[in-house]
């Protein structure tokens, strides 16, 4: 009884986690600018990874596997978000400007870096 409940919960969590990762990857492909892509990837990566790993945690057979999955989740949360921040900061510092919508009387051009 508990087993089937855990299985159903794992199914739901794994599927929704995969859904988030998929939408994040689609955003990575289709968004127009670097900063928007960072936004898409950073958010959905963390959410999708968290859901998938929690879904796996419910299937763990002993406590060591459970503890290791908790370590991976915590580390993944911190590392993905911080890497996203570091990349955006490095991109701004090297001169990459975000793409701003056209406004009358406003200079709007994306200036790619020379790298």
């Amino acid at each position: 009884m508990i087993e089937t409940l855990l299985d159903i919960l794992s199914w739901i969590l794994l599927l929704s986690g995969s859904f988030f990762c998929l939408t994040g990857a689609l955003g990575l492909l289709r968004f127009p600018d670097f900063f928007t892509r960072t936004h898409a990837t950073g958010i959905t990566d963390t959410m999708g990874a968290g859901l998938i790993l929690i879904g796996l945690m419910l299937q763990a057979s002993n406590w060591i596997v459970f503890a290791k999955l908790i370590i991976i989740t915590l580390f993944s949360f911190m590392a993905a978000t911080t890497a996203c921040h570091a990349m955006s900061k490095a991109a701004i510092k090297s001169g990459l400007k975000p793409q701003i919508k056209d406004h009358p009387g406003r200079d709007s051009e994306e200036q790619p870096s020379k790298l």
């Binding site: 794994l14 492909l29 670097f34 060591i64 570091a86 991109a91």
Partner: protein, 90 residues
């Protein structure tokens, strides 16, 4: 259940690789490689349950660490090397 997740993760990794090849600026490529690494960690964790073994999780932890440290290393490298004037033909 695991098979479906694995297939989705493989599709996501393929999309990321497309972005890594296409991305016009360098930072797009760094972002794509970082995302590829995060998805690899998830893929190893899911494969661990698919194959029924328990020791793949150590590799997942190590790869999460390595991915993070490598991305930070790459970003520091580019911070140092763009201290030169930007009109140098890189």
């Amino acid at each position: 259940m695991y098979i479906l997740t694995t297939l989705t993760l493989l599709v996501v990794m393929a999309f990321t690789l497309i972005r890594a090849f296409k991305g016009p600026t360098l930072y797009d490529r760094i972002l794509a490689v970082n995302t590829f690494g995060t998805k690899t960690v998830l893929l190893i964790a899911v494969l661990n349950f698919l194959a029924g073994r328990q020791d793949f999780l150590d590799i997942a932890i190590v790869y999460a660490l390595i991915n993070f440290i490598s991305v930070i290393g790459i970003l520091r490298f580019f911070e140092y090397s763009t201290k030169k004037p930007l009109d140098e033909d890189l």
